[in-house]
């Protein structure tokens, strides 16, 4: 149960004091970093900014915009993966650690399909058709993987203590990763070239955006809308929400809980598949490790946005993507940190800690049943 009223006289322990200090320190760092950044933007030789970072050079507006756009696009892909985490967490109450591998298999199958299409010359002659085809294939592969995973590894564990399926999913993740390594080898595999009309930069609202990123944003938005429609407007969606709220009652209401859970995995898988293709086309490269870090980041995004909250997960993805893209250079560099790009993942995870320190239920609030919150 959550506290409703004002905490009146809660006695503070040293842990509370430490956390308060931590909150203040983190906020202070962010504020000082931002101020220094603004100062150095206004005047490159600003005394305040110089003191923080003697080597400050500042960024041009175009560069800041570029960082923002790339962060949003990266974040949209995190968001697509995060949806799967969020949905499964909402329904079963555990982190499906292997969801990142579902995404990776989407990227990998897209790679195989696209190189075959490219070999056949179809990729160049009919890109739109090829694009739809590889998305379809990726969705199929990812969905199938997610469903099989649920059936084999998670269903038998549905009533176990909650850390058990989480640990299992770590095992599944390792297994899939290394099976792909064995099957396809360690080398990074390159997607074929994108057509020039798609890849070239376009200017929208003074933002100079690479075509691939526009594609990412558009496809992510469309998928998100589709998902929203399924969850909010269809019977399946209602069933999913009911199962998320209370499995037993949902079963009493005549909802087929098993089927609904499988569907949840399937839809999450499909989203990861779409994300996988977008990833593949944006970066034109895939290895067996492609899913690992994005998977963890996507779960981070889901937590940042509020687990179980689909809009929140997407927003959390975008927030995280932007934070890790802008954060190093807008906050860390003005503070005088060297080689900030190396600390990008550290910034992402710190962002997670910051969010949870201030809003334990994520930026937009969790939507979980009472049980899952325990």
């Amino acid at each position: 149960m959550t506290a409703v009223g004002v905490r009146s006289t809660r006695r503070v322990s040293w842990v509370d004091r430490f956390l308060t200090t931590l909150r203040i320190v983190l906020i202070a760092l962010i504020v000082v970093g931002l101020l220094a950044f603004i100062a150095q933007q206004i005047d490159n030789d600003n005394a305040f900014a110089r003191r923080r970072n003697p080597g400050a050079t500042g960024l041009t507006a175009a560069q800041v915009k570029g960082l923002f756009v790339t962060g949003v696009a990266q974040g949209a892909m995190y968001g697509l993966i995060a949806l799967g985490y969020s949905m499964v967490y909402g329904v079963l109450g555990f982190i499906n650690f292997a969801h990142g591998e579902v995404f990776m298999l989407g990227t990998m199958s897209g790679f195989i399909a696209s190189t075959k299409l490219s070999d056949a010359g179809y990729w160049e002659s009919n890109f739109i058709g090829s694009f739809l085809l590889i998305i379809l294939i990726a969705i199929l592969v990812s969905t199938a993987t997610a469903v099989v995973m649920e059936r084999v590894a998670y269903r038998p564990l549905r009533d176990s203590p909650r850390l058990i399926p989480l640990i299992t999913s770590i095992g599944v993740s390792f297994f899939i990763q290394n099976a792909v390594l064995g099957l396809f080898g360690p080398n990074s595999k390159s997607y074929p070239q994108l057509p020039e009309w798609l890849a070239k930069n376009r200017t929208i609202l003074t933002f100079d955006i690479p075509g691939t990123k526009i594609m990412v944003l558009v496809v992510a938005a469309v998928s998100m809308a589709g998902l929203w429609w399924v969850v909010e407007r269809t019977k399946t969606g209602k069933a999913m929400r009911a199962v998320a709220e209370d499995k037993e009652i949902a079963a009493l209401m005549g909802i087929n809980v098993d089927r609904t859970i499988v569907l949840t995995f399937a839809i999450g898988g499909a989203m990861a598949g779409i994300g996988g293709i977008l990833w593949g086309l944006s970066f034109r490269s895939v290895t067996h490790l492609t899913g690992f870090l994005p998977g963890i980041k996507a779960f981070t995004a889901a937590v940042v946005g509020g687990v179980g909250n689909l809009g929140g997960s997407m927003a959390g993805g975008v927030a995280l993507g932007t934070a890790e893209s802008l954060g190093p250079q807008v906050i860390l560099e003005p503070l005088g940190v060297k080689g900030v790009s190396q600390l990008r993942d550290a910034v992402a995870f710190t962002a997670l800690v910051v969010v949870l320190l201030f809003k334990p239920a994520g930026l937009f609030g969790e939507r979980l049943s009472e049980d899952d919150r325990a």
């Binding site: 500042g58 960024l59 560069q63 570029g66 690479p210 190093p328 190396q342 990008r344 993942d345």
Partner: protein, 426 residues
């Protein structure tokens, strides 16, 4: 009976010749068993036994693309070299250095626990060598690496030993400082660049090379406006490129590997402030896949002179082209990194050293560990696949010749490899 007397004379003459020849042969092979230097111990290879050497390369994981061709280079070199004093050379199962200090140490323990091992070819990674070399050296063995480049393992090229240098460690790969200087010289003198940036990926190798470049470039009077790193596994390079873009460099030197190197080349066009920047990478990206990448057009690559072509190893008589043919026949693919040639030469140097410092004793062969080191210390102008090799006092035996190539046409990978725009060999 006349005839038989003649025969007898002939036979005795022949016999005396043989004896003389045998005596000379002994001298050729080094010394008689009793005159070998046994300060580090002697190894006796018994009748019918094999001479033991080992290969220690990163054959699994991220760096397998480097380690596997290295190991195969050693395998093929042993096959080409043939037996020494009637004893076959055995490499055992190729060991894995896991590209890490702990992996290198564990493998080194395995190696040194077999006292019949004379020397080790490897490691692939400098980090592994840091932990492995002391063990190997302490056991009196030698270690010759085809791809370690860290200055800490040998010297700063000014006569000061590196902090991890141990006697008994050699390498045929070039020293990072050397390549750093070559790249800096090319950028500063040939391209006229005054403001450069360097990006590494947190690997000791790329970090070391990028630092070497930075120091050399600054020593020449240039400015390194950005020195930063990506993480392995990163895909979105816009932030890191923006970071270096804020210093408006004319050239970016990124001696990293695939796939991060691909991402930098692909995404550099979309970053404001980097229009028209020159890209330069190093041997980590000097492979067919990367050279074939459309975005690598116009890029420069520093690295060992990979125009091995008709270079001939003087001891086996094989050329690099022979090697490549044999490699493809045996493994069905082309090598994924250029250091196989360094490994091949390293192996041959080791086998030459064994041959020179051993003596036959009946059916067995006695090898002097100290002699092996002594031989290696004295290697000068040895002609190998990678060019001419000479060992300095700290084990740097590489050809110390760095070339810079330009990839003008990604559809012609071989042409790119031969399009040398700069040679650096003091």
């Amino acid at each position: 009976m006349k005839l038989s007397r003649r025969l007898l004379v002939l036979l005795s003459i022949l016999l005396s010749f043989t004896l003389i020849a045998a005596a000379c042969g002994d001298d050729d092979g080094g010394a008689s068993a009793s005159s070998l230097d046994d300060s580090l111990g002697l190894v006796t290879v018994g009748s019918g036994e094999e001479i033991q050497i080992r290969s220690l390369e990163a054959i699994t994981g991220d760096v397998a693309f480097l380690g596997i061709p290295n190991e195969r280079g050693t395998v093929l070199a042993i096959a080409d070299y043939g037996p020494i004093g009637g004893h076959d050379v055995n490499m055992g199962t190729g060991l894995d250095d896991l590209c890490s200090a702990d992996g290198g140490q564990a493998a080194a323990q395995t190696i040194v626990s077999d006292e019949s091992v004379i020397g080790v070819i490897g490691t692939s990674c400098s980090g592994a060598a840091t932990a492995a070399a002391p063990l190997i050296a302490q056991a009196g063995m030698v270690m010759i690496s085809g791809s370690n480049t860290s200055p800490a393992l040998t010297s700063d090229l000014q006569g000061t030993a590196g902090e991890n240098w141990v006697a008994g460690y050699y390498r045929t790969a070039h020293n990072d400082l050397f390549q750093g200087e070559a790249a800096a010289t090319f950028a500063y003198d040939e391209l006229g660049i005054r403001n450069a940036a360097a990006i590494h990926d947190g690997d000791p190798y790329t970090n070391g090379l990028a630092s070497a470049f930075k120091n050399a470039f600054e020593a020449k009077g240039g400015e390194v406006s950005g020195f930063t790193a990506v993480n392995k596994g990163d895909t979105d390079m816009v932030p890191v490129l923006t970071e270096v873009a804020s210093g408006s460099p004319e050239l970016i030197f990124f001696p990293i590997f695939e796939p991060e190197g691909d991402f930098i080349a692909q995404q550099v066009g979309g970053v404001a402030g980097l229009e028209g920047v020159t890209l330069m990478a190093a041997d980590g990206l000097l492979n067919d896949n990367y050279l074939g990448l459309p975005e690598s057009a116009g890029m420069y690559f520093s690295g060992p002179d990979v125009r091995y072509g008709e270079n001939t190893n003087e001891s086996t008589g094989k050329t690099a082209n022979d090697f490549l043919a044999a490699y493809e026949a045996a493994y069905g693919e082309v090598p994924s990194a250029p250091f196989w040639a360094h490994s091949y030469d390293a192996t041959v140097l080791l086998l030459d050293a064994i041959k020179a410092s051993s003596a036959e004793d009946g059916d067995s062969l006695v090898i002097s560990r100290a002699g092996v080191r002594e031989y290696l210390n004295g290697v000068t102008n040895f002609s190998g696949l990678i060019g001419s090799l000479s060992c300095d006092a700290f084990g740097d035996c590489g050809s110390q010749k760095i070339t810079v190539i330009q990839d003008t046409d990604p559809t012609d990978v071989e042409g790119a490899k031969n399009n040398v725009v700069f040679e650096f060999a003091p």
